[in-house]
Symmetry: D2
Amino acid sequence: MARFEKKIHAEGHLIDSDLLSDVMDRVIREGSRFKIIDLQVGKTNEDPSTLEMLVESDTGEQLTALLQELSDFGFVPVEMEDARFEAAPAAGVVSEDFYSTTNHATEVFLGGEWHRVVQQRMDACIVRDDDTFRCVKLRDVEAGDLVLVGLSGVRVIPEYTPRDRSNFQFRGNEETSERQVRLSVERVAGMIRDVREAGGRVVWVPGPVVIHTGAAPDMTALIEAGFVDAVLSGNALAVHDVENAFFNTSLGVSTKDGQVAHLGHRHHMRAINVIRRAGNLPNAVAQGVLTEGICHALVKHNVPFCLAGSIRDDGPLPDTEMDLIKAQAGYAELLDGASLVIILSTMLHGIGVGNMLPGSVPLVCVDIHPAVVTKLCDRGSAQAHGIVTDVGLFLHLLRSALCDDSKS
Amino acid sequence: MARFEKKIHAEGHLIDSDLLSDVMDRVIREGSRFKIIDLQVGKTNEDPSTLEMLVESDTGEQLTALLQELSDFGFVPVEMEDARFEAAPAAGVVSEDFYSTTNHATEVFLGGEWHRVVQQRMDACIVRDDDTFRCVKLRDVEAGDLVLVGLSGVRVIPEYTPRDRSNFQFRGNEETSERQVRLSVERVAGMIRDVREAGGRVVWVPGPVVIHTGAAPDMTALIEAGFVDAVLSGNALAVHDVENAFFNTSLGVSTKDGQVAHLGHRHHMRAINVIRRAGNLPNAVAQGVLTEGICHALVKHNVPFCLAGSIRDDGPLPDTEMDLIKAQAGYAELLDGASLVIILSTMLHGIGVGNMLPGSVPLVCVDIHPAVVTKLCDRGSAQAHGIVTDVGLFLHLLRSALCDDSKS
Amino acid sequence: MARFEKKIHAEGHLIDSDLLSDVMDRVIREGSRFKIIDLQVGKTNEDPSTLEMLVESDTGEQLTALLQELSDFGFVPVEMEDARFEAAPAAGVVSEDFYSTTNHATEVFLGGEWHRVVQQRMDACIVRDDDTFRCVKLRDVEAGDLVLVGLSGVRVIPEYTPRDRSNFQFRGNEETSERQVRLSVERVAGMIRDVREAGGRVVWVPGPVVIHTGAAPDMTALIEAGFVDAVLSGNALAVHDVENAFFNTSLGVSTKDGQVAHLGHRHHMRAINVIRRAGNLPNAVAQGVLTEGICHALVKHNVPFCLAGSIRDDGPLPDTEMDLIKAQAGYAELLDGASLVIILSTMLHGIGVGNMLPGSVPLVCVDIHPAVVTKLCDRGSAQAHGIVTDVGLFLHLLRSALCDDSKS
Amino acid sequence: MARFEKKIHAEGHLIDSDLLSDVMDRVIREGSRFKIIDLQVGKTNEDPSTLEMLVESDTGEQLTALLQELSDFGFVPVEMEDARFEAAPAAGVVSEDFYSTTNHATEVFLGGEWHRVVQQRMDACIVRDDDTFRCVKLRDVEAGDLVLVGLSGVRVIPEYTPRDRSNFQFRGNEETSERQVRLSVERVAGMIRDVREAGGRVVWVPGPVVIHTGAAPDMTALIEAGFVDAVLSGNALAVHDVENAFFNTSLGVSTKDGQVAHLGHRHHMRAINVIRRAGNLPNAVAQGVLTEGICHALVKHNVPFCLAGSIRDDGPLPDTEMDLIKAQAGYAELLDGASLVIILSTMLHGIGVGNMLPGSVPLVCVDIHPAVVTKLCDRGSAQAHGIVTDVGLFLHLLRSALCDDSKS
């Protein structure tokens, strides 16, 4: 039997990030074999390790396929070939063999050195402008753009989560309801305070359940206290927030006493009509029509927000962006440079955000449905923290932890 | 075609309890027909209605079967036959045709009058002692006991929930997480206070999740404040409460900081061993070995409790009753005369309690899993109130509502 | 105390649809009182009932509010006032007091007679053109349109579900996983066959889980066999269907052996690129690029479909409508005249469809998450049937029931 | 600052089982430090690795605590001390410092060599009889038994899951409903066939949902075909199976047409009464009273079963063991030597089984609730395989895969 082999190397936290173990798995699963040539394990926790290993397959195709997979772990041939680029044949169309990105930091090898890709995001093309390499969404590629093809000359830099007591236990089994939520609240409050102190931005992605569960005043307080740097959501959050501001109901149910209000099921359409008459949310605030709630606070405190439309939207509010190309651009702009993203009970917008966000940005996801938390946190990133609990109570406690003088 | 018919009558809140509607459904579903002979609707909300109707079937068997069903709604023949009784052939064995009870108030017709059955519970036999008719579990029937057979001469008195604002909205869609839990907390607090003021008993059925979610101090405070008249649970609640009292962990996870404790997975067995050495929970309290937590408070405040064993029990604690015949008797004794039952995150013990409880006793069921709430509340009773939320946060808020001076 | 009263009347299945009971509840809850003046109960199952009752409140405002609520049940004053209309002040803006519709059949009183509203849908305005009254979405109202305001002269015609064995047991506790799904499959197959035989249209609303769970061949077979008259979905269904057609994977997981495919996470972007190059799905089929799967079958068999964009969409496919105003129009067009709608594991599109659909159109909703089924079926309509099960297995069995000769 | 250090070593699949990574985590989390002295990585997939490392702490207590933790990973001091034993002071009571076992293979160091512990199970004591060391439940320890105390001289042998394609992909994200269940069915069928061919025993743990979902005939067929070596369950499975055999209903719902049967809610008590009259299940089969269903097949084919009682049991059947000490013994006996355990929709019995089972025995857990699957599979073992799906459909397909000639 013929034998095809290649010497590859890697450097970094190979053992503590389970990289070496994952790579070994991959080699065997693909029907190939490995031999460790040299492994220098970091003697202490801070030291990186270095590895040289030989991978061996039965066919050249197998070996090529395997090497492509290993580059996703940062394991690349010792003798690296340059990355290859092909001009896009038409706008929004690229070569069949194009390289589709992950949400992890990525480097391109060209002219004997590695170049870091900018504007990292998932499922994008890598476009070359001289010595700059940037992620571009498929639909935004222009005819003639030089697009990375194949898998040679590209590697992913795996995230490394430092072993640190305070963060360590957040992950893993956290995605269960059998935990003490008040401790998670304190940890999230700590993360938010840390980001604020470091001058970072906290982006919030709340769903309408925030209003239904009576947490509108809590979210409003967090905005007023300056803990909210941007809000990404949809039409329903704003509609029910405005409904609540006008009628003290959410989907017709009183947020004061939990009763179904008189003719309450008509409130949300009436609320929409009022905002439409004013022109939009900022006008409604300026005209004194809208005087409380989340939307009011966002406008008053100049916190930018983007409401993405959806097929189920009533109305919608004039502020809701029903052109989703524009809505995605709006989301991306507000996510740019985010230091922390907090998703509250909305799978739809949460997935949208996850698609745009580099894996290195910490993400907190709170939902009462474990399946939603699992799905949103399953992004190949150590930075996703899931909390299964009642969102209304969570926000209520978080506001106490962050805003109440007596507790701070 | 032959025609078999019977004139039946009923009295009560026939329309507002949907009884008449349900009975009409049943008649048609069974392939029979009805004719309303006379319906006197209560003119106002307080007035009962009276009805006489003719039901008609194609065969005598159909008619008999139909009449049997309608007696469960309190609709009985105008000319009533006496109930029939047969002696049990052996201990725990009765005639094939025995009447198996529901959890609703039931009456037996004998000697020209209706007699109310006592000790009402679900799935029991009705045993006659002269003029007394009582529910007896199948296994407790003695040879020779006179057991009601067939369906003649027996009727169920349907519950009537008065139309009253405060309770009305509790049911129905409440079994969703898209509601404001703080309002439910206030309502449950109000129910508890009402029961206390009326001299009634509140029986609690907490699962071990109460400890895992960090609510042991809250439950303890409720016991100390006198809001707990009995506790029905299993081995796990007590084991993790004691583990928490000794080690500040629950299943090895710190209830102080949420971290997995050093060798924490061994804590619960060590806790069990300590209690076994002391003899049992009361002895451990008396000896000063156990000084805090739910079990400590129960013993100190003489609140009776019953811990039913299960196949998954570790240890168990000496206080856990592993003979389930005895455990069911213990539960039944503590439930006797209960005015309110609160089930917290335990399907197993919750179903056990539901089986023993008359339908007229209000039941509050709190769980983060909607399916559990649905199952526990699906008992043919308007008295079951479901709340889908995080149990730890719920208890924390309930304790604030009931125990904090500033709020009372 | 002053007393304000009004004589109202109603006709129809007042008791068996629980209408009278609901109306009584409402009167008491609103702090008012009722007196039954005359109730003629239908003597048999087929006969409608007629009612005259007096409602009485302490204030004129209370009485007006109450009458407004009761008109939603079809209970209206004996002496009816004409409906009132006001011209819309601007496009998409109406009087504050406008009447917002339900999804139930509605009638408008004008010139001494009742007129049935056409194009019934939820949350719309009612616009008058001479003797025609039609539902118009708020955003589609034009300046000057005559829009119904207030609640006088309008009534809802409550649905009446005939008591019929075959349908009766479908509802209620069906929203549990503790049922035999094969029986539900047979019932849904029967409903589909009945609709086909009657010349009706079956509209399907499948989510991408249909592909993930391996049911693409089943859905394809149903299309080919003519059981699918329209498909409403989003980008993800089509993307993963095409990914599956090209690569035998769905989100990178093999639909042949369940393994994560080599570089599989890049497949969906490659699939999108191929379709973009072809132009769109119909072109890809015409060019022989796309040769199997759901999208292929839809194109080949001229089954219309509409893919609504969402904030989480990758790509999207050129066929996905990212302008949601157009997407909602596309959905509405395909839903027009639907006889049966089947929603498969997609809350987003399911809610969108529910918003547009009259309450009289039967809706089947299949999902493994009980909360989704509950939400989609909670539409004030006896026509919503929920099934909690694995969607992949459900479709597999449904295809066997409908398409296999041996079983038909 | 003082420095306390110890040289430890380990051997095995240190990298591919993530052991080294886990141990490094643990050292840092406990506030200690490590230095790798020598690491010989297996050059190829088959070769084990060997490691010598120095761990260093600030206090002697820290170091001792750390060493105790590391012995759970098989990392032990180079210079090993003998294990220590203390006589139990009373029956069911041991020294406070006793060693509580995990479900993984364990070894005890005494007289210069390592001894494998027998009858491995979780949460047990280790009792010495000369050169034999066995797991004994706390309550079964007799006064004077020599019980292992402290953590010196004991190590856990971590499981090693060979990297093998067929098993590899089963775990991990399998605990989601967004997968193709038919592939999982085939894999479980393959596991069962492999066990049968190797002469092993398959133990089944079905819950009553098996009957409710209409899978009684499927489970029966699997018993008849010889794929079931033991059944562990509770009263409810047997009650509803017998109810189904007698009345074609389960909890009163017809398993033929899904309708609520006439007086169906009384069927299960009637079924219990019939079996009680016959004496028990085997007698009912012998007398020709019980002629079909799961229980009938178990008796006919001499398949041993154990029904553990619970607090929620009606009846119970005479065959249900209400003394849980005896029920746990019965379970343990039937689990002894099991090669594969299949848990079907029962958290209660599933946890009971998990507590008794060595981690090396493969476990398949099928449930429609993801939280149950997560909980049952979270046992520190690579051998737990979770499948989120409808249990009735799963069993139906599994029976086809295993029993139908046409498919084998």
